[in-house]
């Protein structure tokens, strides 16, 4: 189990993220918590920071951390970049929480999880590395991309 303070985000400008402790699930592989970056915000887009109740206006370039939430109003859009080549486009009238964003230091594999409470998101990401995972949860289901499962399929 490894605990690391993080200063890294995606290669293309995400981060810095606050100090965070993260437990690696795989023994022997160091993991760090990373941040995402708001690439674009159109219309009324708001962010709620972890452990706060206040919604603040979002702006392009803003760094978002694990447990931060993002809400779009009618006719509004937001695009998050959570890794190099990995984006999450949040459609109008949506509520999304960043549930987990971790990077394995040695393998550079990423584990990313978002929770969609309402609305719609569209994800785009490069092929996963071994041990990489990508999940989107909703109140009733989970969609997951997992390298091992992809290989099995």
């Amino acid at each position: 189990m490894v605990f690391l303070a993080l200063v890294a985000g995606c290669d293309n400008g995400c981060g810095p993220a606050p100090v965070a402790d993260a437990a690696a699930e795989d023994a022997g592989e160091q993991e760090i918590v990373v941040s995402a970056r708001l690439l674009a915000a159109e219309g009324k887009v708001a962010v709620r920071r972890s452990q706060t109740e206040e919604w603040i206006p979002a702006a392009a370039g803003m760094a978002l951390q694990v447990d931060d939430s993002l809400r779009t109003q009618r006719d509004a859009f937001a695009t998050l970049q959570f890794e190099e080549g990995g984006t999450l486009r949040v459609g109008p009238e949506s509520l999304v929480r960043i549930t987990d964003l971790r990077l394995q230091v040695r393998s550079q594999a990423r584990r990313s999880t978002f929770t969609v409470e309402e609305g719609r998101v569209e994800a785009e990401l490069l092929p996963l590395k071994p041990a990489g995972e990508f999940r989107i949860r909703t109140p009733s289901a989970e969609a997951s991309l997992n390298h091992r499962e992809v290989a099995f399929q």
Binding site: A123, S140, A141
Partner: protein
């Protein structure tokens, strides 16, 4: 589409020819240089393009300073609009290849296309319109190959969408890439590319369904320059589609959306309030269960509503002189 764009340019050529005729008392195909008028002014007045002064110089074998007022000058013939049109279409193809990642995945071909495009322009500026057109056609063909090569070489991204509706039902759509595992309750199932699944609130996943293909865009043509605020979007129908989703974005990847429209028909008259600039649009089909298919390739258009003078009607990429 190329021939359509060329026809549009031939139409523009007719407008320009009419302007030239009005300003050319010296005889058919010629114009007289007026006092205080430079060749650039003349080129702009009769051809709508200051750069065409070089063409007038070449046609009339003028070297050095402008000729004196009163000089009768030959004007480009009807082959010029075809050369300009070919250059514009090729320029648009080069831009599309670059937008599609050719800088990274087909750099040599893209460089060759750009060289041919530059050579086409140079030939036109020395009034060699046949060479200009031939080189533009060559640039167009190489740019098409560059785009195709780029599409084949670049890593195939995973694209998926997840939505939650007002009833709490989840929809997972896999548009491209690897399969996705969808889990609800105690049941998991694999959803492959081109498939989607619906999960009712508190239910297990329903069997996967095939997604509808993207509609083929018709209007506006790729690279169009639009000078009116109402944009006419049109596309080919897709069998089984209950609705179509039209997304407008500031970028070719669709990462900076500005509007999303839902349409029941195969056209939409969009009263745009968007600022002038370059935009891209994408189309998707939605089936009766609310499952949305993959997006059509990006199509580019340029809004020039405030800059438009109500006379110009163009096709082809704007923003740069021919």
């Amino acid at each position: 589409m190329r021939s359509g764009l060329r026809l549009a340019w031939l139409g523009l050529g007719a407008v320009l020819a009419a302007r030239a005729q009005a300003a050319a008392p010296a005889g058919p195909g010629t114009v007289t240089l007026e006092p205080g008028q430079s060749l650039e002014d003349l080129a702009e007045r009769v051809l709508g393009d200051r750069e065409a002064a070089d063409e007038i110089r070449a046609l009339n074998r003028i070297e050095g300073r402008d000729p004196p007022a009163g000089t009768a000058l030959r004007l480009p013939g009807p082959e010029r609009p075809a050369a300009v049109s070919a250059w514009r279409v090729a320029s648009q193809a080069v831009q599309l290849a670059a937008d599609d990642g050719a800088e990274e995945f087909a750099p040599e071909r893209l460089a060759r296309a750009r060289e041919a495009l530059a050579a086409s322009r140079a030939a036109r500026l020395r009034a060699d319109y046949l060479a200009g057109q031939r080189l533009a056609d060559e640039a167009w063909a190489i740019a098409r190959q560059a785009r195709q090569e780029s599409q084949e070489r670049r890593p195939r991204k995973n694209r998926l969408a997840v939505s939650v509706d007002a009833e709490g039902a989840t929809r997972v759509e896999v548009h491209q890439g690897d399969g996705v595992k969808v889990t609800a309750g105690k049941k998991s199932l694999a959803v492959g590319p081109g498939q989607a699944v619906r999960v009712g609130a508190g239910k297990e996943p329903e069997p996967p369904r095939a997604l509808l293909p993207a509609p083929e865009p018709v209007l506006p043509p790729d690279g169009a320059v639009l000078v009116t605020p109402t944009i006419h979007f049109r596309w080919q129908p897709v069998e089984g589609a209950a609705r179509y989703i039209l997304l407008l974005s500031r970028d070719a990847a669709g990462l900076q959306p500005v509007r999303q429209l839902s349409c029941e028909t195969v056209f939409h008259l969009f009263p745009s309030t968007l600022p002038d600039g370059t935009y891209y649009f994408f189309l998707r089909s939605m089936d009766g269960a609310g499952l949305v298919g993959p997006a059509s390739p990006a199509r580019r258009f340029q809004l020039q509503v405030k800059a438009g003078d109500g006379v110009r009607v163009e096709s082809g990429p704007g923003g740069k002189g021919p």
